[in-house]
Amino acid sequence: MRIVVQENPFDLGAEANAFAAGRTDMGAIVTFSGVVRDDPAHPLRQMVIEHYPGMTEKALEKIAAEAQARWSLGDVLVIHRFGPMRPGEMIMMVATAAPHRRDAFEAAEYLMDYLKSRAPFWKKEQGAEGDAWVAAKDEDEDALTRW
């Protein structure tokens, strides 16, 4: 398991390649990356992500450990950024390695569902119309009930 919380951008390709390298017993590698999305109706200048140093790492480790307990996984990678980022920049990525694809896909979805509403990050959008904290969605909380 590797958990990284950092301000700097990361290289998705390099991270995915490094994660996959040297594994001969994993038939499936799934990667997901979250990207800062602009909305033409409400142009976004930048997104600023705040987090809770210390708790963030603990929460991500707990979520990743739970995924490893539930599915047959060879490894898990979570990278999540904080600080300011522009539309098109990558916010975060998860990668899962498993002998078979179903475990890799489901574990990646589980990681995403949980880190959306159980990892202490808060997004603020800054645009032409001012600054606004992104509100948590009920559907994100509801998504946890399927696990």
């Binding site: 809770y52 959306k116 202490p120 990050f121 808060w122 603020k124 509100a135 948590a136 909380e141």
Partner: protein
């Protein structure tokens, strides 16, 4: 003494990221009552607890959680990671 941390709009509304508080509060809810009574900005930030989440010593918990032995309490809105 307990360290209290505020994040996102809770931090902005109170105007502080963290502070040390000398308290005998038995639970998180008791601590919230003490803070509310301090000043208007605290009363506003804590006006709707359903819009807030709390962590004690960096673990998510409920407002009725005990504070015995706690070193750090954090208040924040629902999280928006990913």
């Amino acid at each position: 003494m307990i360290d209290i941390l505020y994040f996102a709009w809770v931090r902005e509304r109170i105007g502080l990221a963290r502070e040390q508080v000398d308290t005998q509060a038995a639970t998180v809810a008791d601590l919230v009552e003490e803070l509310r009574a301090r000043e208007e900005r605290y009363a506003l930030a804590f006006s709707d607890l359903s819009a807030l989440r709390v962590a004690v010593d960096q673990d998510l918990t409920d407002f009725d959680a005990p504070l015995a032995g706690a070193r750090e309490v954090a208040f924040f809105p629902p999280m928006t990671g990913g």
